[in-house]
Symmetry: C2
Subunit: 461 residues, 2 copies
């Protein structure tokens, strides 16, 4: 079925070049969802090529009360870019230029459609680094990273995306163009408008340019990958490492289930026996990482690691990360659908979380794989279901998710650490925020977008 | 003259214990200003002892449209806590308990009246660190630090206060109690409400509790203090250090004027000849800092440093910092009043800034001392005037400040990097923000404080 073009299409084309507007069914279909399990076909897709384009579209949409859902690379995990109320999907993917790379000021200036990995490569080319490293960095866009305040393994030491946003250009719901911050590493000029838009999931404004902090690239890194007989021992090691004064760039833990899947995929001999896997990565000056990795090796031995692989240089570190990425692929190879929940617990509750996951697994019959950013308490908890598209299975899985999120909230945790709320976490957001914070969100939303046209139907509706 | 108590005093005492309310002239006088050059006597000072107290006061004040100016330790540098519209000064200084120190979760939970230095000491006692280090840390409060998003030398590596606020309890203008965030190192539950209040200078809400991130305390630190023949060479060294892949915990530069004052106070022999002074501090594992300081020593020699003092351990580092603090005292010893402007420039413009300052000095006859956080481009530019209280001198000084701030804005700089706007920067804030951002500030302010009772008379009025 070919959808009927909306009656406002001609009006839209009167404010933006028609070449940038598509109503082709395949384009509409390609822009109906992200990596989550929901979709809705928009009326129109606009491929903005400039801030002026975005401003013109927003002015028109605001006057005509047309929903606008901004979309970056479409690699979100929570349905944040699904245009659930139809209207316009505004793609930023043609705004994909790195406008400047300025080590002399410690900044990179980018358009929102730049792929995160491309920005990192451009920074590396001048010997600098953009630290945030979401797992999908080869596919996701900076605009999406800012809209979700994306994290990643390295955020333990380096902080999440927000810590790297020094300036923004934002098109407001009205079409007005706001510029805030700049190529400055400290700035106390008024309120934190950058914070208001970072992580706002397209509901408060549209990011059209960002000035990002880059840092001197650490000259070297080193890693240890350790096997522990029990998960509790690996979790205790996380705390012991920090207590000893180390601040690793990554501290990643993996549970029994995931390890079993990886052994199945890669061969049992890949990982010596043991129920938990721990990765410690450090970075810094070459001499420093060499001596620190030695200290950490000794510490992990004392803490009961039964096997430790040492990666003293870039190439061997990359090998360990490659193996780490296989954990995800191994889970995929089970043939099950992975409902990846990026929950967070206070770091002291890592063991309790995994114990709860084991209980939930037994109660529901749904296998649960836990692995992730142990130093942050941000453990990806993956419910492995047969077919999430099957209504019966979905009801069962959603009931299990409900139990998980209730446990998280009862244990001072967060229902999302880095993916955002989108549609996936919408059923729990009100309880997670509490009534006063929820009402304050509405106050903010209403102040910035009085007509409710920016990404409507998401967690405040 | 004893001020007449306001007619709403009895009403106020009906909602909060009278022991917590003072109208004594000396108390009112003590709460009429901060470290800047403005004051206004409030009608009443309330010493809140709990969140419930703050909530009751705000509810009453909101219903009766009474201005409320929140005050921490009163160590602000921009008049942010001056109750310019009278009403209530709400002191948080009796809410001064550290509620919890939890290395196991990497957090400290504090009331707003805790002195920053006391928090650091408590963190050190368990081997952890709270990195933000404003110069006044022995006197200023965490509540004030959050309200101004305070910085300090170490923020080059570790980031400003915002990077350490994981959770907040805030009393809103209505008296409602908002809790946002928690003891979690990643949290993407909704918008960044923490950012909305951090740096809001008491104009959007009152912070009554904070959950702060603490990190493993680096086991060692080391420093170099170098003399360069010319300021340009020291500024070039700042960039060269970063380009070589070092990320120092501090990188502090000092100009000729300041160095001359220091030589006068401490003896010419304290600093060998040369027009600029540069401090480089690194921290990390003991073996690492020892080898890195050696690399840096060689680098600074190559870059033309004519004298380098090496501080390889805690005690010798403290000696260098002590000397660094003498720079401020030396300026005070000139007998002049120091108008300390915490301006920021893109790092590549350090030399241009100092060149401009020299020109401004010649044009106005006002000596200008520049020193500060070179790595951040955050250079404290001190106009040394005879008596800022003298109206004629003040007009002259304000004209010079106006030239300085105009130059800053024309050069992509910020009029404040860490002190805030308050009253001191109010004349320039609208130009600094631009009309759209200024209007957006008003939208935010109106949404959070529709009756305009929170710290009125500041930069949006």
């Amino acid at each position: 079925m070919i959808p009927t073009p909306p009656d406002w299409l001609a009006g839209l084309i009167s404010v933006i070049n028609g070449d940038k507007v598509s109503v082709s069914p395949s384009t509409l279909g390609d822009h109906s969802g992200d990596k989550w399990y929901a979709s809705h076909v928009p009326d129109v897709v606009v491929f903005a090529e400039s801030t002026a384009d975005v401003s013109a579209v927003m002015k028109y949409a605001n006057e005509n009360r047309i929903p606008v859902t901004t979309r970056g690379a479409g690699f979100g995990y929570v349905g944040g870019a699904v245009p659930v109320r139809g209207g316009i999907v505004l793609s930023t993917m043609r705004m994909n230029r790195i406008l400047g790379m300025h080590p002399e000021d410690g900044v990179a200036i980018v358009q929102p459609g730049v792929i995160t990995g491309d920005l990192q490569a451009a920074a590396h080319a001048v010997g600098w680094e953009y630290p945030p490293d979401p797992a999908s960095l080869k596919d996701c866009s900076i605009g999406g990273n800012i809209a979700t305040n994306a994290g990643g393994p390295r955020c333990l030491k380096y902080g999440v995306t927000r810590s790297y946003v020094l300036g923004l250009e934002v098109v407001l719901a009205s079409g007005e163009i706001l510029r805030t911050g700049g190529r400055l590493h400290k700035n106390k000029t008024g309120f934190d408008l950058i914070g208001s838009f970072t992580g706002s999931e397209g509901m408060l404004g549209i990011i059209t340019e960002a000035t990002l902090r880059i840092i001197p690239k650490p000259a070297s890194r080193a890693m240890l990958a350790a096997i522990f007989p029990e998960f509790e021992m690996a979790a205790a090691a996380v705390q012991a490492i920090l207590n000893a004064g180390h601040l690793p760039s990554a501290l990643e833990i993996t549970d029994t289930f995931t390890l079993a899947a990886a052994r199945k995929k890669l061969g049992a001999e890949t990982f010596p026996p043991g129920d938990a896997h721990l990765i410690v990565e450090i970075d810094g000056r070459p001499a420093a990482t060499l001596s620190e990795i030695e200290e950490l090796h000794q510490l992990l031995t004392t803490l009961g690691a039964t096997f430790i692989e040492r990666a003293p240089d870039e190439a061997s570190c990359e090998r360990i990360w490659k193996l780490r990425r296989e954990f995800s692929f191994s889970l995929r190879d089970t043939g099950l659908t992975k409902l990846n929940e990026d929950i967070v617990v206070p770091r002291s509750k890592l063991v309790e979380l995994v114990t709860f996951a084991r209980r939930l697994e037994q109660e529901t019959g749904i296998p649960i794989a836990c692995f992730g950013h142990a130093g942050d308490g941000n453990i990806h908890t993956n419910l492995m279901v047969r077919d999430y598209g099957d209504p019966e299975i979905r009801v069962h899985a959603d009931a299990a998710l409900d139990q998980l999120f209730r446990w998280i909230l009862a244990n001072d945790g967060a229902i999302t650490g880095e993916h955002g709320v989108g549609l996936a976490k919408k059923p729990w957001i009100r309880q997670a925020l509490g009534e006063t914070a929820f009402a304050t969100h509405k106050v903010l939303k209403n102040a910035f977008d009085p007509n409710g046209i920016l990404n409507p139907g998401k967690f405040l509706d």
